[in-house]
Amino acid sequence: MTAQLYLDGVERSFDGFKAITGLSLHVRKGELRAIIGPNGAGKTTMMDIITGKTRPDKGEVFWNEKVDLTKTDEAGSARLGIGRKFQKPTVIESLSVEDNIGLALKTDRSVFATLFARQTPAHADRITELLHLVRLADERARPSADLSHGQKQWLEIGMLLAQEPELLLVDEPAAGMTDDETMRTAELLRDLAGTHTVIVVEHDMEFVRALNCKVTVLHQGRVLAEGSIDHVSANPEVVEVYLGR
């Protein structure tokens, strides 16, 4: 079994605090994986390591078995096809909804290419398509600062999809969404799995249940349990550190 994303024995500490302690994680291509864990379990640090924002002290991180992700930076990982959505919706507030998607579209990212870039009809069509998908077609020309919290979450998901990533790292997508929006998000992520690899970090157990996928429980910077949601919720250790609060 080959892993698209392969982490082995990863360690990372910050000023003596061990955020990640021997983390190993293998995610197959096209898999949908949920990662849960209490605060401080190392979820964000793990994503920082995968995307090249933070370098591990020890351990291996490989992408498609060939590319060493410990040697790349954020932009590098994005260009390899790793898209990341932040916990707090982060969009470019003073640009319009359309321009936000436009910036995310998969194009040449070099300085001079963007200086002389022309908007083609194909780009405009792709933007329209994505805006329909995230139900923001009516907001196209509005500054994204005017959007509601939930709409910003959707816009960021739209930007993620515009990048055409192979792997989506999604940090608490359901935060601040209504129940209806939450279920639609779960549905969208399930649809994306298969053609994309999707890793979702989440607190909301209802949401994780709706994803209906393999769950990894992190605790104190390593994997505590792995399996279906019913399997991990039956694990007494997991109940103690996370579910039993």
Binding site: E74, L95, L103, A104, R109, F116, Q163
Partner: protein, 366 residues
């Protein structure tokens, strides 16, 4: 093209065009000189400041890089032109040395230092007034942006940069005339710097440079790269995770801006007749920030208006009550920051929009 000259830019260009025609005509062509010669000279100086403000607005307003050292790029451009003007003096100097400027003879230099070579050619000096500031910005930005120095830390080191340059240029051993700087220029391209016609020509050249600077900055802001810059300003890490190498973009815009500031300095030197290390003073760089904030950050035209407005106020106030100028400047900055966060241009445009919205209502009410 229509996007490049929007309404705000259009109004400004019309006003500038009127000034460019009226001031030289009033000075040169009309009997009795309704426009005094010093007004031409001052106006030219203001336009150089306006170009400098546009340069700063490009990095600060669009990319969020608050440079407190832009005065250094301006001064380097000014020195590059000053060196050419020194060499133009030739045997007309006090010591009459055909090659060495007066201060070098005075400091008993045997020969011209290597970095003064080539400055006898105008084209070389014109090139250097862009390349030297550009190169400094490139080296400085390369290290700062790669190490991800940003925010106040970057502001502080840009301030340190200009301060360090000021101290070095004060030293006679640097070979740039020490604290007297470069002065006593005679002519440029064969035209007498004291003549009214040359002054009018320099004023027009400054206006042309300002328009070119505005157009370049506007074109950058409107391009896809301009949107990336706004992305960096508003959400730097988001932009990185979209796959943009932020440091490359910052470096590009910082270098373009420094070159623009260098051109402003090069036009400034012949018009004021002197360039000295005081131009590197940190306070000068901070004043540029005030111009931009006052005019309206991120509007380009606003930056130019802010610079002209403050420079004009400075000329008038330092004439009437010299000791009050710094208080007035400080007070102005506090007032604008508190009550006009979008600057003068923001206030004008908001009230204009309000006026237009209330017009139909007025028609209904008797």
């Amino acid at each position: 093209m229509t996007k490049l000259i929007d309404r705000r830019m259009g109004f400004f260009l019309i006003a500038l065009f009127i000034a460019v025609v009226a001031i030289p005509v009033g000075n040169l062509a009309i009997e009795g000189k309704p426009v005094a010669s010093y007004v031409v000279q001052l106006s030219g100086k203001y336009l150089c400041y306006a170009l400098l403000a546009v340069a700063l607005d490009l990095v600060w307003g669009y990319c969020g890089i608050l440079s407190l050292g832009h005065g250094a790029f301006f001064a380097l451009g000014g020195y590059a032109m000053g060196m050419h003007l020194m060499r133009e003096i030739g045997t007309r100097g006090v010591y009459g040395d055909p090659v060495l400027p007066d201060f070098m003879v005075f400091l008993s230099y045997e020969q011209l230092p290597w970095f003064w070579l080539g400055f006898d050619q105008f084209w070389f000096a014109a090139l250097m007034c862009m390349l030297v500031p550009g190169a400094l910005a490139f080296v400085f930005g390369w290290f700062a942006f790669r190490s991800r120095v940003s925010g106040v830390y970057l502001s502080i080191i840009t301030q340190a940069m200009t301060y360090a340059l000021m101290l070095s240029f004060f030293r006679n051993e640097m070979g740039f005339g020490g604290n007297n700087g470069l002065t006593d220029f005679k002519d440029v391209l064969g035209f007498d710097l004291q003549s009214d016609a040359t002054r009018a020509g320099l004023f027009i050249a400054s206006a042309v440079a300002l328009v070119a600077g505005l157009m370049i900055a506007k074109a950058i802001a409107l391009s896809q790269l301009g949107k990336v810059l706004i992305g960096i300003r508003d959400a730097e890490s988001r932009t990185r995770f979209l796959g943009y190498r932020v440091e490359g973009y910052k470096l590009f815009v910082f270098v373009v801006s420094a070159m623009m500031a260098g051109v402003a300095g090069a036009l400034y030197t012949p018009q004021v007749g002197i360039i000295n290390p005081g131009e590197f003073s940190p306070a000068n760089s901070i004043e540029i920030v005030i111009w931009v904030a006052l005019g309206g950050r991120g509007t380009l035209v606003g930056a130019a208006i802010g610079a002209i407005f403050v420079a004009l106020a400075k000329t008038l106030l330092t004439g009437w009550i010299p000791e009050m100028w710094l208080f007035a400047l400080g007070g102005l900055f506090v007032f604008v920051t508190l009550f006009m966060p979008r600057g003068v241009l923001g206030v004008i445009e908001e009230s204009w929009a309000k006026l237009r919205r209330t017009e139909p209502v007025k028609e209904v009410t008797p």
